[in-house]
């Protein structure tokens, strides 16, 4: 619906078009398929170039946790760009949120409120502080843009300079760490759910996905809308199930190094049994990203707020004449962006185990690039959450792949820049061919 997809054509009565192609029958967004194809191609090429080191469980695990921070922000950037705005301040906001959380947990809570280091409430209070700071900064910028009608480009360009250096003042430019142990669990390798829970989560996810497919079909049948053939529905279901379980299997195949296990047993004062192994499984940060992706997708497609965001992006005048308060909407979008930046800051600083002065530098460009590679149109009105996440994944794969191959750092950035431009050009050609906007 709000997709840039051509899937809609297939809902015509089949009598009008007796021979429908395989893809139309599946009602799959060909654009999404193209992006998945590009991603697989990138992976395969790097796998060959690195003699099979790219597609190992270990590297896929690392790739996943490296993508999370940018991907979380990219989901919010979709809404910002869809409404024809831009946010150049996310990297700097990330630094401010990270600084606020680091100061809260290492300084404010222990010294002013007497919560000792390692107090169970510490990480949650810190995260709450980060969310409030992020949402507040975002809302303030949104107010400047929506109500004072200062262009988003200018407001957030100013924000880029301001928030980066507010963070500097808050910490005197120092690196603050180590962060709280529980807090660090959101970083990736330091917090995973383990093998068994990974399978449990994977199986629940499959059941929920299949139920969602089935209930959407039943809903269509109830309204006597055309549905796709059962075999197509089944094929989509199988692909989803294999995808989810395959992902879990890969993460579960990455085993914790023996030396680390030994240390863990020692710390608990136990002796490790012989031949003991354990796998990492799904990181908490990835679960957080998945939860955000689902939440943002529901918001985009199934809520009034999401509908208004896309309507405003498609035609701001029409949205206003339909009684939508587009100014307040702008505030909400930027506040949401700010809150997502805060969550991203949790993941980013937890992954580093500390807050450093340069955290999130250049993230605004990575986030915008991820959203745009993921099919978000800067002209507004078009973009998807899953596309942006896939865009972040493609960017990260390129970056780490080139690092593994040993491409020089300046050349890496040259390639990433060229890919961004190329991706947008392909997108323009694709939309022209399919008659989309």
């Amino acid at each position: 619906m709000t997709d840039s997809s051509t899937a809609g054509t297939s809902t015509r009565p089949s009598a009008a078009k007796p021979k429908r192609s395989f893809l139309t029958q599946l009602e799959i967004d060909t654009r999404l398929l193209g992006m998945i194809g590009a991603f697989i191609l990138v992976c395969l090429v790097f796998n060959v170039l690195t003699d099979g080191r790219f597609l190992t469980p270990r590297n896929i695990f690392n790739l996943t946790i490296q993508t999370v921070s940018v991907a979380i922000m990219a989901t919010g950037m979709v809404f910002v760009i869809v409404t024809r705005h831009i946010d150049l301040s996310v990297g700097a906001m990330l630094a401010t949120c990270s600084a606020a959380m680091a100061v809260t947990q290492t300084d404010l809570l222990p010294k002013m409120f007497g919560l000792g280091l390692g107090h169970p409430l510490t990480p949650w209070i810190a995260i709450a502080v980060g969310l409030v700071v992020g949402a507040f900064i975002g809302a303030f910028q949104g107010w400047l843009i929506g109500y004072l009608t200062i262009p988003a480009f200018i407001v957030t360009l100013g924000g880029l300079l301001i928030w980066r250096n507010v963070a500097w003042y808050m910490t005197d430019g120092q690196t603050i760490g180590p962060l709280d142990d529980t807090f660090q669990k959101f970083g990736g390798i330091n917090g995973t759910v383990g093998e068994t829970w990974s399978w449990v989560i994977g199986i629940i996810a499959v059941i929920v996905a299949l139920w969602a497919l089935w209930s959407s079909r039943r809903n269509k049948v109830n309204h006597e809308f055309p549905v796709k053939p059962l075999w197509a529905e089944a094929l989509v279901g199988v692909v989803i199930a294999v995808g989810i379980l395959g992902f879990v299997a890969i993460l579960n195949a990455y085993e914790v190094p023996t030396a680390r296990l030994l240390r863990e047993f020692e710390a608990r004062g136990e002796v490790m049994p012989d031949n003991y192994t354990a796998a990492y499984g799904i990181p908490y940060s990835v679960l957080l990203l998945i939860a955000i992706a689902i939440g943002m997708t529901v918001l985009a497609k199934r809520t009034r707020l999401g509908r208004y965001i896309f309507a405003t992006g498609g035609n701001p005048d029409a949205a206003e004449l339909s009684g939508i308060n587009t100014r307040l909407l702008t505030v909400k979008i930027f506040a949401l962006m700010g809150a997502l930046v805060a969550l991203s800051a949790v993941v980013a600083s937890a992954r580093l185990t500390n807050h450093s002065n340069d955290i999130g530098t250049l993230d605004e460009l990575r986030v915008i690039a991820a959203a745009v590679i993921g099919g978000t149109a800067l002209a507004g009105g078009i973009g998807t959450i899953h596309g942006a996440i896939l865009g972040a994944l493609i960017m990260q794969s390129l970056q780490s792949g080139m690092a593994m191959v040993g491409v020089d750092a300046p050349l890496q950035n040259i390639v990433v820049g060229a890919v961004l431009v190329l991706a947008v050009w392909i997108d323009i050609v694709y939309r022209r061919r399919t008659g989309g906007k």
């Binding site: 619906m1 709000t2 809609g8 054509t9 809902t11 015509r12 009565p13 009008a16 809903n219 269509k220 109830n222 309204h223 809308f225 529901v298 199934r302 809520t303 009034r304 509908r307 208004y308 896309f310 309507a311 405003t312 992006g313 498609g314 035609n315 005048d317 029409a318 949205a319 206003e320 004449l321 339909s322 009684g323 939508i324 009105g381 078009i382 008659g435 989309g436 906007k437």
Partner: protein, 247 residues
């Protein structure tokens, strides 16, 4: 009988330009009142005040004998005023149901928008308005001018409008589609709606309207029953800017 709408001494200036200058109009149930005039005569501005898109500087709006305060399109909708804008005001990236229900989405018991229900309702009303309309779930940018117009009209008539404002509803349409709109106007009129119609086509106006009002440079020149005037009378009012008696 109480008029459905009374616009009393409405004025609105943009900068130094008096876009609407002390205009008074009324509209009765089951009546079509046409607004005529050159480009920039103030017709669209006047009806945008009634539709809530602009706020007047001076004047009063009365609906069914009560003075009302219309500050926004939402207020206008609350008084059962629906508007079909010249630009159609459609979000091109969304499909017909999303546009039809924009700002008034149907929701299910969880408060989520109920696309299936909205699609079903859209199919129902489209079957009545434009039986050829098939592209229900495509973005409206993929539709022809006439189909887009159908979506805009469907949006106005679906929500039990009492007062309908149509700004150039046939400007972008072919002969056949214009006739469909004309038939629809007659049908809605028979149902007791009051309609403000703006058009440049004087002949069409004389055919569809009960009364026509002519504006020039923001001011109302005069209002005439269509039975009392000829096309030439109207044209001279538009061009000369003088009421008929004076001419």
């Amino acid at each position: 009988m109480t008029p459905l709408v009374e616009l009393k001494n409405i004025s609105l200036s943009f900068g130094g330009v008096r876009a609407v200058d002390n205009v008074s109009l009324d509209l009765h149930p089951g009546e079509v009142v046409g607004l005529l005039g050159h480009n920039g005569a103030g017709k669209s501005t006047l009806i945008k005040i009634l539709a809530g898109a602009y706020q007047m500087d001076e004047g009063e709006i009365w609906i069914e004998g009560k003075k009302v305060n219309i500050q926004s399109p939402r207020d206008a909708r609350r008084h059962n005023i629906e508007t079909i804008y010249q630009t159609l005001a459609l979000a091109d990236n969304l499909d017909a149901p999303s546009n039809l229900f924009l700002g008034r989405e149907l929701t299910n018991r969880f408060g989520l928008v109920d696309d299936a229900q909205m699609e079903a309702e859209t199919r129902k009303i489209m079957a009545r308005l434009n039986p050829n309309f098939k592209k229900i779930s495509e973005p409206v940018s993929a539709l022809s001018g006439g189909q887009r117009q159908s979506v805009a009209i469907a949006r106005a008539v679906y929500f039990n409008a009492k007062i309908l404002i149509m700004d150039e509803p046939t400007a972008a349409l072919g002969v056949h589609e214009s006739k469909m709109v004309a038939d629809l106007i007659k049908e809605l009129k028979a149902q007791g709606l009051g309609i403000f119609l703006i058009s440049h086509d004087t002949r069409e106006m004389l055919d569809l309207c009960d009364r026509v009002s002519v504006m020039k440079n923001g001011a109302l020149i005069g209002t005439e029953k269509v039975g009392d005037v000829t096309e030439d009378d109207i044209l001279s009012m538009i061009i000369m800017g003088k009421a008929r008696d004076a001419a």
